[in-house]
Structures are given as structure tokens and as C-alpha cells.
């Protein structure tokens, strides 16, 4: 994956107004499901153009935190603002990439149609305009899948599907991109390619990703948000084994993955 071309950078950044406001500002937030607190006393600031990873053990509330930032859940107490307002009023600035395997793959959808869905809004009636289609193709170019725009979504590989969903989130020119486990269920090479793409995108907008694989994402992100009911934010390079041990409650070491490129095979007939 090469660097983004200038025209592609324009496609991504033309929607940005470089807001002086913090991308996400959370104060004294509490959230519970049926009387059990999932998140307690959460205070968090994510500044504009930061590349952040949210990590934590299973059931720690990291996906809940993501859904609160998306405005899909409402906190019981406290405030959560995205660019100075409640997330529901700032959805034009939010891009979201869910896990691809949550989607129904038997749905008859082409790659272009999936990307066009990123441009949908309350009053999108009848059909998408040709300028919307042009925009969708431009974004498919960025993720390297323009040639597959007419292909069915279900026929793609896991890594390609994830790229299509990234294109769907990017097409509306958001200022903050939220990812739910972007590298889950993709192979190691596709995982590295995806992270390289995210690293390039992160220069132009705020990127927040929920991940279980701290060893892998720590090579890329600036800041790590550790979630286990409460939230602590650390610069990636200041993260120590003791902090992770405290978060997960057991002895866990930070291990960096080595990506082994598949070797060329020679067949002898």
C-alpha cells in the first residue's frame, strides 16, 4: 500500500473544518445495563487528529464506550460530547466501521452499493445521484478496490470486506472515524495492510479503534485508552507491563507481532 495521492488526500480532508473543539469529551459518565455498572466515573478527552486505541478485557465496556460515542446508547449520568455537542447532532462528522462478520452476507449487495450506503441520510429518496456514485468510486480508489466496485460484497475476502466498510465510513468525509475490532477475523498480512491504511488515514482525521490485540496496534497508535469499568489514557510509549497487568488482572506481556510475508513458491512439474 503506497502513500495516498494528493487528490485522495483532498477527497478525505475536504470535509474537515479543523474544529478547535476536542473530538470527544467525556465527563463523569456512568452507564449500566440492568442495575450493573458497565462504566463508572469515566473522564476522557480525545483531541482532534489523535490516533487512539481502546483496549480492555472481555466485558470491560470498550464496545459500550464506542456505542456511547456513536450515540447508539445513552449514559445514565454524566456528559459525552463529540465536537462540542451530543453525538446524535454530530453524526455528519462521525464515520463508523463495524465488524464485517456481523453483516448478513446473503444480502444481494455490490461493493459500490455498500459504499453508497455511507452517503445515506434522512431525506435520501428514490436513488443515489451520479455525483454520489463518483464520490464512492473515488473512495474505493483510496482503499484499493475500485476495480471490484461491481463485485458482490459476499464474494470478497475478509480483508477486502473490511476495506469496503472503511470506504463506506470515509465517503461521508467524517472528522472522526470509529472502528470496532478492525483486524478481527482477517489474516496477518491483511491485518498489517489494514493497519498501514489506517495509519495513513489517521494523519487527516481522528481515528479511534477498539482492539483486543494491544501488541499489534501499539506499533501504530499514539495513545492507548485502557477500559475496565473506569478509563485511563496513556501515551503508547509510556504503557508498561504493570499497567496492562492491572488492567487485565493477570500476568500479560506486551509482545510485538512479526509479519512474515508469504514466500514465493516454485513449482516443479
Amino acid at each position: 500500500m503506497g502513500l495516498l495521492k494528493n487528490s485522495e488526500k483532498n477527497t478525505l480532508s475536504s470535509g474537515q473544518r479543523n474544529s478547535p473543539l476536542p473530538a470527544v469529551c467525556i465527563r463523569d459518565l456512568y452507564f449500566s445495563y440492568q442495575k450493573e455498572n458497565i462504566l463508572e466515573n469515566v473522564n476522557l478527552d480525545i483531541t482532534s487528529h489523535e490516533f487512539v486505541s481502546i483496549i480492555g478485557p472481555n466485558g470491560s465496556g470498550k464496545t459500550t464506550l464506542l456505542k456511547l460515542i456513536l450515540g447508539l446508547l445513552q449514559p445514565q449520568r454524566g456528559t459525552l460530547h463529540v465536537f462540542g455537542e451530543k453525538p446524535e447532532y454530530r453524526r455528519d462528522k462521525i464515520g463508523y466501521v463495524p465488524q464485517y462478520f456481523q453483516l448478513d452476507l446473503s444480502f444481494p449487495a455490490t461493493v459500490l452499493e455498500v459504499v453508497l450506503m455511507g452517503l445515506i441520510h434522512k431525506k435520501q429518496w428514490f436513488f443515489y445521484s451520479s455525483s454520489a456514485k463518483k464520490k464512492a468510486l473515488e473512495v474505493l480508489d483510496i482503499v484499493g478496490l475500485r476495480s471490484l466496485s461491481g463485485e458482490m460484497f459476499r464474494n470478497l475476502s475478509g480483508g477486502q470486506r473490511q476495506r469496503v466498510l472503511i470506504a463506506r465510513a470515509l465517503v461521508s468525509q467524517p472528522e472522526i472515524l470509529l472502528f470496532d475490532e478492525p483486524t478481527a477475523h482477517v489474516d496477518t498480512v491483511a491485518e498489517k495492510n489494514l493497519m498501514d491504511l489506517l495509519k495513513q488515514i489517521s494523519g487527516m482525521l481522528t481515528v479511534v479503534l477498539v482492539s483486543h490485540d494491544l501488541g499489534f496496534v501499539s506499533k501504530y497508535v499514539d495513545t492507548v485508552v485502557c477500559v475496565n469499568r473506569t478509563v485511563q489514557k496513556h501515551p503508547t510509549n509510556a504503557l508498561t507491563g504493570a499497567m496492562i497487568q492491572e488492567l487485565y488482572g493477570s500476568h500479560i506481556e506486551l509482545v510485538h507481532h512479526e509479519i512474515v510475508q508469504p514466500q514465493e513458491r516454485h513449482y516443479h512439474g
Binding site: L72, Y96, Q102, I120, K122, W125, R168
Partner: protein, 285 residues
Amino acid sequence: MDELWRAFMDPYFPFFRYAFVSGILASVSFGIVGSYVVTKNMVSLVGAISHSVLAGVGLALFLRHRFQIEVITPFYGALSAGILSAFIISFVSKYLTGRQDAVISAIWAVGMAVGMIFLAYTPGYIDPMSYLFGSTMLITKNEIKNLILLDIVILGIAFMYYPQFWAYCFDEEFARVRNVPVFFLNTLLLVMSAVTVVMMMPMVGIILVLAQLSIPVLIAEQFVTRLSLLMLCSVMLCMLTSSIGLVGSYKLDLPAGPIIVLTSMVVYICSSIFIRIKKRIRKYL
């Protein structure tokens, strides 16, 4: 063939003609709404609506025969009951956090129970079989006019909200993040399903209607790559199977509903076998 044509044109025997035309007209809504319902995996919700329609049929017949209120036909009774249960099911799926399927199954059964009680209180004997499994004798000229009107309304809504329904059926969570009115669309789709079910009720009955809503879509799904094409193919397949089924029922002197459903199923099985054989051949070539 000649005999069939004579039956179709006979001015003193309009039932066959009405059944044929109503099958064609109802297929338009069936293919469109069926495509949305099947791709959204909500066939069981529509099952609950279609069965609870019997409550409306029972109430309408009871009011007609007991109090001579002629304005309330079983068609309008079914339509009101269908729309009411669509609203109830939409609210249940939004606000009830657990055991939704059990509650929806209860609505399914309670609707039928209420219908049967009203039929039992209705003076004279009314055979519920014709409503449960369909009877082409129930179709009148007035109902054909209603079908045309409802087809126009459903076509208009389905195309106006096409991108929004597409997004809602493919990825509801993302649609919510993009401010698509998901609850409104869910309710609208259930109401459209209720209307469609009532349209096809005289042909295949409220029990068999579920098969005719989903089987043409299942057949079409094997051949198409887009939702819009899925709708078009489902409409055509629904027209084809209901026409073949109707002719079959006339020739064999059997009830139309079951023959239509079995015709659809035969087409589905044949198309599935065809697809498998095609894949195998492609593999070896």
C-alpha cells in the same frame, strides 16, 4: 387450453377471471415487500401478522351478521387487524428487551383465537377454512379495485424509500448512525407486509400466505446480485407461480392456495438443483 380460455372469458363465471387478475396484481406487492422482508430476516414477524388477521375477519363477519353492518367487509376487518398487529409487533420489537420471539408467537396465536371466538358467535355456520387456506370464490370486482389502489401505494412507498430500506435491511446499526429513521422504517415495512398479506388472503389464505411471500424471493436470490433485481424477479416469479397454480387447481379441481404454494416449492427445488449442477459443471470445465 380452449376450455381454459372459455372459463376465463365466461361472463357468467367471473371467479376464475377475478382470481387470475388478483393473483397478478397481488404479486406486484408480494415480490417487493417479500424481498425486503426476506433480506431483513423478519418472515416470522410477518407470520404473526398474517395469522392475527383472522381476528379482524372474525370481527367483521360477526358485526355483519349479528348487527347487519354491511359496510364492514372481511377485507376491511382483515386490513385493520393486520395494521394493528403490525404496530403492536413493531413496538414489542423496540421496547421489549428479552423473549421477543415468545411474545410475538403469543400475538400470532391470540389473533387466531380471537378470530375463532368471533366466528363461533357469528350466526349461521361460517367455514374458517376458506380464510385460512384461501378460496377464489371470495374475490369480488370491488376487491380487484382495492388491489390496484394498494399496489400503487406500496409501489410508491417502496421506491421512494428504496435507499433507506436498503440500508435498514443490510446494516441496521450503521443506518442508525447515519440518522436513518429505523423505527419508522420497521413499522412502515410491517404495515406494508400486513396490507400485502391481506391482498393475497383470498388466493392462498392467511396460513399459506407466508410461503408465497418468501419462496419466490428464495428462488430469485439464487440468480441476482442486487436488491432491485431481486424485487423484479420475485414479482415475475410470484405472478408465474400463482398463475400456474391457479390453472393447475382449475384442471385438477383442487383448492388454489395449496396448489400455488406447491408450484412455488417445485420451482424452488428445481432451481436449486439447476444451480448446483451448473456449479459442478463449471468446476470440472
